[in-house]
Amino acid sequence: MTSTVHTAPPAGAATAVVSERAEPKSARHLPGEASMWAFVIGDLVIFSVYFTIYMLYRIWNHQMFLESQQQLSQTLGLLNTLLLLTSSWFVALSVQLARAGEIARAARLIVGGSACGLAFVVVKAFEWSDKVGQDFVFTTNDFFMFYYMLTGVHLLHVFLGLGILLFMWRELGTAAQPRVAMLETGATYWHMVDLLWLIIYALVYLMR
């Protein structure tokens, strides 16, 4: 057992990044881990495939998509978009403050961001149950199939993101020296969730 210890990296790669960040640097800086960016780009590509397939089905049955689209609640869609934008704003501010050492304020902003994320989930649950109550379900037609699929897979990303925000909050609350790289990594994921929603909102709710 003991022979395994000495082979471990001395302090972990993340702390090395932080100390690098601490000294003033004019050079360009990759926010968060490179591997998270690999994930984000791959996820964006996967979603692009969903969006493209959605667009094809949409033009193949444009009229039906428009009629079904009309059954959506535009107000709830707008509310959810504003919630996620606000949440993203809070998290972006939080990273900025954490970098400047204002840890307590940064933690409060993470709480705000999580609250907006949770509100998004609540609104989504209400919206879905309302639609199901009106007998618009996953198998109703192709539009609702895509509606539930796109918003559903996005919602799963939101759940994962809320978990990540929790870890960020814990990092800010408990670590003596919060790892900025870790916060940036989590924030990158959360902004991606926001970004994907902006496109889903335009494609599913707004476009005609």
């Binding site: 504003l82 990158t188 902004h191 335009a202």
Partner: protein, 93 residues
């Protein structure tokens, strides 16, 4: 102490919200109660979405300070995705 009120991120957030509300109004209030195919509305909301996406990536995800190859990849992705969406949409009208 960093000010939130006089912060570039806050300005960006306000712009994003304004664009969102504008697209919402355009899509729901411009053309009456029944939805029909409308290239101007679609083009408008898609351009708004493109601008918003770019803002989120550039300022929230901090691509403006990131190595330029990463910004290039992300901008390239936006161009390709919205290009495909536009082409598919216009091919049907």
């Amino acid at each position: 102490m960093i000010s939130i009120r006089r912060n570039k991120l806050t300005l960006i957030w306000l712009l994003l919200c304004a664009l969102t509300v504008a697209s919402y109004l355009a899509a729901t209030k411009l053309e009456g109660a029944t939805y029909f195919v409308s290239a101007p509305i679609t083009t408008g909301v898609l351009i708004a979405a493109l601008i918003k996406s770019r803002f989120v990536m550039h300022h929230f995800m901090e691509l403006r300070a990131a190595p330029s190859w990463l910004g290039g990849i992300c901008d390239g992705w936006l161009v390709v995705l919205f290009g495909v969406i536009f082409v598919v949409y216009w091919s049907a009208i």
